[in-house]
Structure formats: structure tokens, C-alpha cells
């Protein structure tokens, strides 16, 4: 579903990604972790072309992201993405947040889009909040709406960039629960997260990045059993202490 082939990226002189190669198969859940600044966000943003890259290629469902002829908007419309800071549109109601892209991008009618949006809102347990603005919701609620907004586009896969790291601890689980459910339904997911509980529960593979390189790319049990690289071992030790 997502093939990342020898991707390298530079910000000016600074190389953020070095020769990254991996793959997310259909129905697979892959967790990406690594220290701050290791390039996790950059890599995941390359997948839907939010960040350009200079070398290599990424193919999503048969479409090359790096090809200048690719219609990136069209590609993105069926790749869902959830951000660290939710990024709901603050000037719109929750319903409008859920429907705007359905109407403007997929050409659905307003009724159809609202119907779909409200169903998904119900699914994340927030139906009563449809008429509110994002600012009136808690962080956890906003992030659940953001997931519903992405799902409303009927994505073929979902990208998550640290979806719980801006949340107060007591709200993390309500978001993780939605993600777990999604994973169990067979959604293809690439998740940057340090929630190792989530990784243990639903991930098929874990990727560990350091300094722009994919240092470790292993099946979940292998990764948690005994990571090969020393760097990943240290990282795991540190993160599991908490």
C-alpha cells in the first residue's frame, strides 16, 4: 500500500532523511518511533507529499508521490492524516469540519456528507457536539473529531503523527481506543507514536529511526523482544521506564 524506496531529503545542507526504505502492506499497522528530531514527522509527511523529497520515491497504492505529474491533492484525498495538534479548522463548526472536504473534494452532496460525518462523529462518541466549534472541545475530543474528519474521506490508509503527544495524560486513552478499534478493523496505518502500549497491542511492525535513518524495522515481537541496534535498546529502555 505504501512503499518507501531509498528516500533522502535535505533542508538546505542539512540531511533530514537518509536512504529510508520500508513498506506498509494493506491492512498492516506500522509504528514509527525514535528520538526527537530523528525525522519521523518528516518521513510521514513525505508519504502524502506534504514535504517534498529529493531522492528516491514513495508509491502509495500504485501512485508515485515523487512524480511531478501526480495530482497530489487527489492522492491526499484518500490518504487520511492526523496531526499532533489536531488542526481542526477553528472558524467552522464540528459538522463543517467533517463535511467540507467531502463536499469540495469528493463532490458529495451536503446531506450525504453531513450524514457520513455525523455517523463517524457518533462512532468516536461525540455526536452531541456536532454544532460546536473546536475551541469548545477538550484536546482529546478534538483529536477524535480529527480522526473522524479523516475517516469521512473513506481513506485507503491513515497516517498519524504523534496523535496523543499534545494531550493531557487522562485524554490519551480515549484517542488510543479509537485508533485501536480502527487497527482491529483492518485499516492500514502508519503511526508515529511513543505509546508502546498501543504498539504492543495492535502494531504488526515497529520502525525505529535515528538521525534520519531507519535503524530498525522489525516485526513487533522481535522489536520488543530484543532490538538489534544498541540505539533502539537504549531508547526502549528509556521510554518503557515511564
Amino acid at each position: 500500500m505504501i512503499e518507501i524506496k531509498n528516500v533522502s531529503k535535505w533542508y538546505g545542507q542539512f540531511q533530514v532523511l537518509t536512504d529510508c526504505t520500508t513498506e506498509v502492506k494493506k491492512g498492516e499497522v506500522v509504528v514509527v518511533c525514535g528520538p526527537s528530531g530523528s525525522g519521523k514527522s518528516t518521513l510521514i509527511k513525505c508519504v502524502n507529499g506534504l514535504e517534498p523529497f529529493q531522492q528516491g520515491d514513495i508509491v502509495v497504492n500504485g501512485t508515485s508521490v515523487g512524480d511531478p505529474r501526480t495530482n497530489l491533492s487527489k492522492l491526499r484525498s484518500h490518504v487520511g492524516m492526523v496531526f499532533q495538534h489536531f488542526e481542526l479548522f477553528p472558524h467552522m463548526t464540528i459538522t463543517d469540519n467533517l463535511t467540507i472536504a467531502q463536499v469540495k473534494v469528493l463532490g458529495r452532496s451536503r446531506e450525504e456528507a453531513t450524514d457520513k460525518g455525523l455517523k463517524l462523529l457518533d462512532r468516536v462518541g461525540l455526536k452531541a457536539h456536532a454544532h460546536k466549534h473546536p475551541g469548545q472541545l477538550s484536546g482529546g475530543q478534538q483529536q477524535r473529531v480529527a480522526i473522524a474528519r479523516a475517516l469521512a474521506m473513506d481513506p485507503i490508509c491513515m497516517l498519524f503523527d504523534e496523535p496523543t503527544s499534545a494531550l493531557d495524560p487522562e485524554m490519551i486513552n480515549e484517542v488510543l481506543d479509537v485508533m485501536v478499534e480502527l487497527a482491529q478493523e483492518g485499516m492500514t496505518m502508519m503511526c508515529v507514536t511513543h505509546e508502546m502500549g498501543f504498539a504492543r497491542k495492535v502494531a504488526h511492525r515497529v520502525i525505529f529511526m535515528d538521525q534520519g535513518r531507519i535503524v530498525e524495522d522489525a516485526a513487533k515481537d522481535d522489536f520488543f523482544g530484543k532490538p538489534h541496534s544498541e540505539r533502539a535498546q537504549q531508547f526502549l529502555a528509556k521510554i518503557l521506564q515511564h
Partner: protein, 224 residues
């Protein structure tokens, strides 16, 4: 000791009213066209297209570097001559039209700077979220960024409108009878210049002060 005599004002009110309408017409046209054209300039200036960005920056810098009075005079004296040369006939009284054009084009430069700051005040993540949903860059600008930019900018846009409202009095240089020009003419005619100018000043003050109070009120509401 100067003896005030306000008696010529009541009779002049209809005339002054007409002048106020001209002032409002110039102000509103400049606001509407200025914000519309200014938005396009701001978007062009922030675009990744080098040429577009360069042209927009040139336009803005040009208009911001010349006095407004000169722009008004140019559009009154030079542009009509050029048009006359083109069409080979007289085009009648163009004072109002030339003032409208001059103000709209001039104000657009100022509005575009306000709007550019407004666009930049919208977090980058909002653009990423719009694009990630499959909206095109244009749709993201129109549906996601600009509404938030304008909401942030309302106080500044209104403040600029107040300045503009006062600046329209500069049309006296082309003999257009706006509110100020009319007051001046009436005062001159009746030998009561001091009274008429005091009256006009008071009227400007009341209008501008009221609007700026309104802006403060809006600001308080938006920031809460």
C-alpha cells in the same frame, strides 16, 4: 475677539450631506476594492511563483513610497490625458472616478500588507491539514486560511478604514466636493471659514471616534 456666527451652517446642511455622501462613496469603494485587490496582492506576494511575488511586492512598495496626494493628482491629470489620447475625445468630469480609482489602488497596497500579516498569522499546520484532506492549495487558501486571517485582522482593517475616511479629504486638491471640500467652499462663500472648519472637524471626530470605539469593542470580543 472673534465673534462666532454659526448661522450659515443649518442652510448648508443639505450641501454638506451631499459632500458626506461623496466622502462615504470614496471611502467604501476604496475599502471594498482595496480589500479585494489587496487580498489578491497579498496572496500573489506569498506565492511560490517568483515573478508574481516580485510584481506584487513592486506594486505595494511603489504605492507605499509615494504621497497619496500625488497619486490622486496623477490619476486626475495624467491618466485622463492618456485616455483622451487613446480615445480621441473628451471624457467629461472625471474627478469622482479618478478619485475612486486612485484611492482604491492606493489603499490596496496598505490592505495587502495587513492581509499578508494576517495570512502569516495562521498556523502552518492549518495549511497542512487542508492539503492533507485533498483540498487544493487554492481551496486551502480560500476556505481555511483567509477566513481565519480576516478574523484576526478585523480590528486592523477597521483602523485602516478610519485612516482612509480621514484621508479622503485630500480630494480637495482636484476640487472634488467631498464633506471637507464642501465645508470649505461654504465657509469661503459665506466668510465663515472658521465655523465651517470647526464644524467639519467635529463631524470627522464624532464619526471616527465612534467607529474606533466599535473597533475596541470588537477587539475585546474577539480576544476573549
Amino acid at each position: 475677539m472673534y465673534e462666532f456666527d454659526w448661522s450659515s451652517i443649518p442652510g448648508a446642511l443639505p450641501l454638506l450631506g451631499k459632500g458626506l455622501l461623496v466622502t462615504l462613496e470614496v471611502t467604501l469603494t476604496a475599502i471594498v476594492v482595496g480589500i479585494g485587490w489587496g487580498t489578491l496582492l497579498a496572496v500573489a506576494r506569498l506565492s511560490s511563483n517568483r515573478l508574481l511575488s516580485f510584481l506584487a511586492a513592486g506594486y505595494v512598495n511603489l504605492f507605499r513610497s509615494v504621497p497619496l496626494v500625488m497619486v490622486i493628482l496623477w490619476f486626475y491629470l495624467i491618466v485622463p490625458q492618456a485616455l483622451k489620447g487613446l480615445f480621441g475625445q473628451d471624457i467629461g468630469d472625471i474627478r469622482l472616478v479618478s478619485a475612486l480609482v486612485a484611492f482604491a489602488l492606493f489603499e490596496a497596497a496598505y490592505y495587502s500588507e495587513i492581509i499578508r500579516a494576517g495570512i502569516q498569522s495562521v498556523p502552518k499546520g492549518q495549511v497542512a491539514a487542508g492539503l492533507a484532506l485533498g483540498l487544493t492549495p487554492g481551496q486551502t487558501m480560500r476556505l481555511v486560511v483567509l477566513p481565519q486571517a480576516f478574523r484576526n485582522m478585523i480590528p486592523l482593517l477597521l483602523t485602516q478604514a478610519i485612516i482612509l475616511f480621514q484621508d479622503t479629504s485630500l480630494v480637495y486638491v482636484i476640487g472634488l466636493s467631498d464633506f471637507f471640500g464642501t465645508a470649505y467652499k461654504v465657509g469661503d462663500r459665506d466668510g465663515r471659514l472658521v465655523e465651517l472648519l470647526l464644524f467639519a472637524g467635529a463631524a470627522y471626530f464624532v464619526i471616527c471616534f465612534t467607529v474606533s470605539r466599535l473597533v475596541k469593542h470588537l477587539q475585546a470580543r474577539f480576544i476573549k
